[in-house]
Subunit: 231 residues, 2 copies
DNA sequence: CCAGCCGCTGAACGTGTGTTTAGGCTTATG
DNA sequence: CATAAGCCTAAACACACGTTCAGCGGCTGG
């Protein structure tokens, strides 16, 4: 009998790791042949171990997801909403996996989705603490704010990577660093000073929609008729 | 002689339009055969008119780019940084083209790049006006702020679309509407009230980097030395 | 020492792709 | 009416892909 699920130090694991790396580097359109070459095996062996390319993809997803959970557990509390990304990409060894996450975000894969949800959950917790400690201002809709902040951070990072990808696709590190260098000041500025001088737009909008603290899922219907919120 | 470049009301134009629509709907991996079927012609004719799929793609890019320029010219001044997207997606006829832009953003194509640059340029102008009129607060680095705001807006929208795409891929309208409904309040809140209660993080950062108004490309100068008013 | 098994491979298959080729149909022109 | 030219198509080609298949080789158990 050989190892099957628990501890794989085997060729199967080597193939999976090569696939993660290759997917991160070249996207999910990467060829089975390429992955096999990376792992130093024949294409047939890849299929023999995983059954199909889709199954391999799923295995990679699962693996990266597990890695995310692990990293989260280790760095509990060290990362803040905005800082998590840097923590993740800081260690060079973890950079490829971060690249994989970005690819999944780009492709709308399950890993990307789960990653966003994780980040939102974490950020919600940290933000609540920050509000409690008087560091952050309270929001009319904490969940919505956190969702927005995470989506904006992740989205702008993703867009940066997509629009001018690093020469060495493996070096997500450099990209995140550049992203931080470019956007940290305006982000901080916006976070401490805001952007608008008057409250008019906000008050008008609140008046218009009726100021509900939350119009999200998880509570029944009667959403404030989302016809044309902009005017 | 037939028309070649100036006025195409011809089959060639029909193919191009079908391609734009299909690319927007299914991404740039869409088949030549599918595009041909959409246009009601044979696959061979597509190649006959455009030479190759890549050339067709380029023609679509060019066409959409021209459309963007046109729309910009028509809606000069009506759109603000945040509102431009809605203006673009508002008209149902333009929605497909907006979908094309999103696809190009997702794939890192030239149209996406150009679109972002256009939006940044516009936003910079509108922001400058807003600052001048006292509506918006001035920034330590206007260009960086505008870049950040545009990247965050576009990125979060792109991420929204990618993570849970609309059932009908053609209906970018609905997506943008949902995006607005979800994020308008937290965005407005952040823009008017900020997020942090104290200036410490910002001041610390400014102290750390030496408070240059701009450490970007395009100026090789050094910033007015690091004695900043904050402390 | 032998038998059997298991990891593994080279070569092939089937499919879907972009593209090419040869020719048909319609239309304008002498 | 005959001829030539353009728009267009069916069929095929070349290639890359995921996947299958038959079999090799070294290891282990008896």
């Amino acid at each position: 009998m050989n190892v099957r699920s628990a501890d794989d130090l085997t060729t199967r694991a080597r193939i999976r790791d090569a696939a993660v790396l290759r997917f991160a580097r070249s996207g999910f359109g990467a060829t089975v042949r390429t992955i096999a070459a990376d792992a130093g095996v024949s294409p047939a062996l890849v299929i023999h171990h995983f059954g199909s390319k889709d199954t391999l993809h799923a295995a990679c997803d699962e693996h990266v997801l597990a890695w995310i959970a692990e990293t989260k557990r280790q760095n509990m509390g060290r990362a803040t909403s905005g800082g998590l990304l840097e923590v993740l990409a800081q260690q060079d060894e973890l950079a490829p996996l971060m690249g994989y996450v970005l690819r999944s975000l780009q492709a709308g894969g399950s890993v990307g989705k789960a990653f966003v949800e994780h980040m939102i959950d974490d950020a919600e917790k940290y933000t609540a603490e920050a509000v409690e400690q008087g560091i952050a201002k309270p929001s009319r809709d904490e969940r919505a704010r956190v969702r927005y902040l995470v989506m904006a951070s992740l989205g702008s990072l993703l867009l940066s990577v997509t629009l001018d990808p690093p020469e060495d696709p493996e070096d997500v590190n450099a990209t995140v660093r550049r992203y931080t260098a470019d956007f940290y000041l305006p982000m901080l500025e916006l976070f401490t000073e805001g952007f608008l001088t008057s409250r008019r737009m906000l008050d008008d909008y609140l008046l218009y929609v009726g100021d509900p603290p939350s119009a999200h899922r998880a509570d029944g219907e009667e959403a404030p008729s989302a016809d044309d919120p902009a005017a």
